[in-house]
């Protein structure tokens, strides 16, 4: 399919008359404005019974705004919502649940110190007796292939099981429409497969699912219909089973997405630039993960990726490598120099650079301007930012302009506060800030988390280019597509253990999935 014709079609598309007697939800001309930004512009959307309906779009395309209006947490400025043919006003989430609309959030809202049944009881309007509720939870969860033990304490459960709690909580209210926001972003491939079976079954029973995801492979695999948003408008509807992930991506972006390639040219690997030798650390808090004798040699010229499900020690590993968490001296070596006890500034001076997972509050100070946020990581790296203890605002401003230009960081006015940037733009900034140094060793945690396809391709290509120029790049990621796209070698972290890094061409998704699940299966299956 040619992309030119596609984008022309996109804007002039007339919506097909899909609504009929099976229509569950029919949104007509929904409009929502935030200040001078039109988040949703006359959006029409029809969801039929028993349909898994994908909602696609880049970051900021208006997906979240739209589903929040369906779930009653935002009020539309214009347009109508028809529920089974009747116009409705959904004033709040409780009203939405009463209609039969449930939602599973991207970020869980569970109390870690409470048990499964207690968490669910808190969310139900009439929980009834706890013992009866526990029975219902057991039955419903087993029925749908999502087994749960109601007495388990949430803190002890892996993320995949926590998501089950959210889903079961939703199912207990017998919804007719379930909204899911990026449900698979925290799951292993096997856990995701399990979820797809459940969704399939729900659809067969007549329940509709509105499915938001950035993973186009799975959209193609499980969704019946897709609506694509761009800049708050519906630009296209399609049958995803007849599309390819690449064509879906270009519909979202409105242009061709550059594909990234790592494996075409084999890297010339050189000396070890970052060495981890038996890196171990105790868990600092009850909710942290201990690191167990992690070893890895990262060589010049290569990109090594560490796959793993969230919360398996990625954050702790990052902190140990960056120097925010001191360990034994020999455990971390940069260019042959033992530095496990050295601080992050020392390691930066050794030409190492770091990009943490959390952009706001860790990688950047929310209330400070971008130029000030450059000083944050570059104040001691020989960029003439600081002289005699005084910070040069002019130099910081020049660097801000350079990074903005080279990494296409878009902003409403020059040098805004970090908090005002969208997630994708801020990510381009924090990655660009380090790439701008041409570091010898770069460690990135979740380089493209929540970043749209165009920006993700830009960041991934930049990482590969850096490695090919002789640097060593370590990428910690939960996105397998990304990992297979850029990595020369792949290791998997599970419960604080790291598997041996193996060449990417010898790895399969199944094998990565099995390694991810590590020793977790025993606890995962509560039957």
């Amino acid at each position: 399919m040619s992309d030119n014709s596609l984008s022309q079609n996109g804007n002039s598309m007339v919506q097909q008359p899909r609504s009929g007697k099976d229509t569950l939800l029919d949104a007509r001309g929904l409009t929502k404005r935030f200040g001078d930004i039109l988040a949703n512009d006359r959006v029409d959307l029809v969801i039929n019974k028993g349909e898994i309906h994908a909602l696609l779009g880049e970051n900021g395309a208006g997906k979240s705004t739209l589903v929040k209006m369906f779930y009653g947490s935002l009020e539309p400025d214009g347009g109508d919502i028809l529920w089974q043919g009747t116009p409705v006003t959904i004033g709040n989430p409780a009203a939405a649940r009463e209609l039969g609309i449930g939602m599973v959030f991207q970020h869980f809202s569970l109390f870690e110190a409470l048990s499964v049944v207690e968490n669910i009881a808190l969310a139900l309007p009439n929980p009834g007796r706890m013992t009866e509720l526990a029975k219902r939870i057991e039955n419903v969860s087993r029925d749908y292939g999502l087994p749960l033990n109601p007495a388990d304490i949430v803190a002890d459960l892996p993320v995949g099981i926590r998501q089950r709690i959210e889903i079961v909580r939703c199912l207990l209210q017998e919804p007719q429409l379930i909204i899911m926001d990026e449900p698979t972003s925290v799951l292993t491939p096997q856990e995701a497969d399990q979820l797809f079976l459940t969704l399939d079954r729900l659809a067969n029973e007549g329940c509709a699912v509105l499915y938001i995801s950035h993973r186009l492979e799975e959209v193609k695999r499980i969704c019946h219909h897709a609506t694509i948003l761009r800049h708050g408008q519906v630009v296209r509807e399609c049958d995803p089973t007849k599309e390819t992930p690449a064509s879906l991506a270009s519909m979202m972006v409105g242009a061709d997405v550059a594909s990234v390639s790592a494996s075409e040219q084999k890297p010339q690997v050189g000396d070890v630039r970052l060495g981890l030798n038996g890196l171990s650390a105790k868990a600092a808090t009850p909710f942290a993960t201990a690191l167990n004798s992690i070893s890895l040699d990262l060589r010049a010229g290569e990109v090594v990726a560490i796959a793993g499900v969230a919360g398996n020690g990625q954050g702790e590993l990052f902190d140990a490598i960056s120097g925010e968490m001191p360990v034994e001296a020999s455990m971390v070596q940069v260019d042959g120099k033992a530095c496990g006890k050295k601080n992050i500034t020392w390691r930066r001076r050794q030409n190492a650079a770091f990009v943490p997972e959390e952009r706001l509050g860790h990688g950047a100070v929310p209330g400070m301007k971008l130029s000030q946020n450059i000083v944050l990581t570059r104040h001691s790296t020989g960029d003439k930012l600081v002289g005699n203890g005084f910070v040069s605002n002019a130099q910081a401003g020049d660097m801000e302009k350079r990074i903005k230009q080279n990494f296409d960081v878009r902003m409403s006015h020059d040098d805004p506060e970090a908090r005002s940037l969208s997630g994708g733009n801020l990510q381009k900034f924090v990655v660009g800030r380090e790439l701008d140094r041409k570091p010898g060793v770069l460690v990135v945690n979740q380089p493209t988390w929540g970043v749209d396809a165009g920006a993700a391709a830009l960041i991934r290509q930049a990482l590969i280019d850096l490695a090919r120029e002789g640097s060593a790049v370590l990428v910690i990621s939960q996105d397998l597509d990304e990992i297979f796209e850029i990595a020369d070698r792949i290791a998997v972290i599970s419960r604080g253990f790291l598997s041996e890094a193996e060449p990417a061409e010898d790895m399969t998704r199944e094998r990565v999935g099995l390694l991810m699940a590590g020793g977790a299966e025993a606890q995962g299956e509560v039957a």
Binding site: S322, N343, V365, M368, G389
Partner: protein, 362 residues
């Protein structure tokens, strides 16, 4: 109709300037209501409280005398508060600083030369810093809450002062009054500008200006601001949270101790059982009213100093209790903190009919 707070995308520069002014206006309004409830003409009372002290030379000079320690203490506190270290114990650091500064004139009264005064000031700063380092070390070592420990040490300091002036440091020629001996001329801070103010005032302004430059322009100032707003990002930048806690407490204690020494050496000329009308606590309000900015603090120090002089004024002229000064100070802090909300939020009036419940909650 409903009133909503809507988060701004960035800090509002305009509101950062306006919010202290709005707070002062609201305080005057509330004070006027209090005056009229207690049966006084609110306009006359407000005039006597806020304006009259500025119209006469003696009361204007008295305002400068009161403002000086407030400004100096508040400058140190601003570094603490900017870096998220809640030092509430400046009053105690002021007292201990005054004690250290008084070691020379009280115990070695014959040590009289050009070095006397500079040494006293240095001793005072060291004393205040040491006293402030106690809660700082407890925080960094044992994770104790510095608000509680620094506050409790205020009362310890006051009792030490009380003990010394009634006991070992009592003036041998003082007819058993609880006072130390009067400081010699060499230990007395001179007056400047034809007797209009003590030397402490220009010293304080100089320190405030230096601190303003350090905070705005240097890497240390950057570190202080980063740590206050986002400690995790500060750690990522390579700054040490513990180091900064020790630094900011030592600096705030040092400046409070310096203020204490200048107070006993300049204004009082001896140690008394009580040497401060609550400067260390009022300085907290000064720091926030001045937006934690040393230049703003100079202005805010004047406003709060007025409340001391004005409180005495309304007491003598209208028979209003002197406690009204504390009430107005408290109101001012309340309104300052409330108005700061406007910097990152704007108020929106929403009129809607037939809606129920909290739409913004999920």
């Amino acid at each position: 109709m409903r009133i909503e707070l809507v988060k701004r995308k960035e800090h509002s520069q305009l509101m950062a300037m306006l919010s202290p002014l709005i707070a002062v206006a609201l305080t005057a309004l509330a004070a006027g209501i209090i005056f009229s409830i207690s049966g006084h003409n609110p306009l006359v009372a407000l005039y006597k409280f806020f304006i009259e002290p500025l119209t006469q030379q003696w009361s204007f000079e008295a305002t400068i005398d009161k403002a000086t320690p407030l400004i100096l203490i508040a400058c140190g506190l601003s570094v603490c508060y900017l870096s998220n270290n809640w030092n509430i114990g400046a009053e105690g650091q002021f007292v201990i600083g005054a004690l250290f500064g008084s070691i020379l004139p009280v115990l070695f009264p014959s040590f009289e030369n050009a070095a006397t005064l500079p040494l006293m000031l240095i001793f005072g700063a060291i004393g205040g810093a040491l006293w402030a380092l106690v809660p700082a070390l407890l925080k960094t070592r044992f994770n104790t809450n510095e608000i509680l420990t620094s506050l409790m040490l205020v009362y310890v300091a006051s009792l030490i002062l009380d003990y010394l002036v009634r006991g070992p440091w009592r003036d041998p020629d003082g007819y058993n009054f609880p006072e130390s001996r009067i400081f010699s001329d060499a230990a007395t801070l001179p007056e400047v500008f034809g007797g209009a103010m003590s030397l402490s005032a220009p010293i304080t302004v100089l320190i405030a200006i230096i601190l303003a430059i350090v905070l705005a322009k240097t890497l240390k100032g950057f570190e202080i601001r980063v740590m206050g707003e986002s400690p995790r990002a500060g750690g990522f930048a390579g700054f040490s949270a513990k180091g900064l806690t020790l630094f900011s407490f030592a600096l705030a204690g040092g400046l409070a101790g310096l203020a204490g020494t200048m107070e006993v050496s300049g204004a009082l000329n001896q140690l008394l059982p009580s040497i401060s009308p609550g400067y260390g606590f009022t300085a907290i309000i000064v720091a926030f009213l001045g937006r934690l900015n040393p230049i703003g603090i100079i202005i805010a120090g004047f406003v709060l100093a007025l409340s001391y002089i004005g409180g005495e004024g309304v007491q003598s002229a209208m028979g209003v209790t002197n406690e009204i000064a504390s009430v107005i100070q408290g109101l001012l802090l309340f309104f300052v903190l409330a108005c700061d909300t406007l910097i990152l939020y704007r108020i929106r009036f929403v009129s809607r009919h037939g809606s129920q419940g909290e739409a913004s909650h999920v």
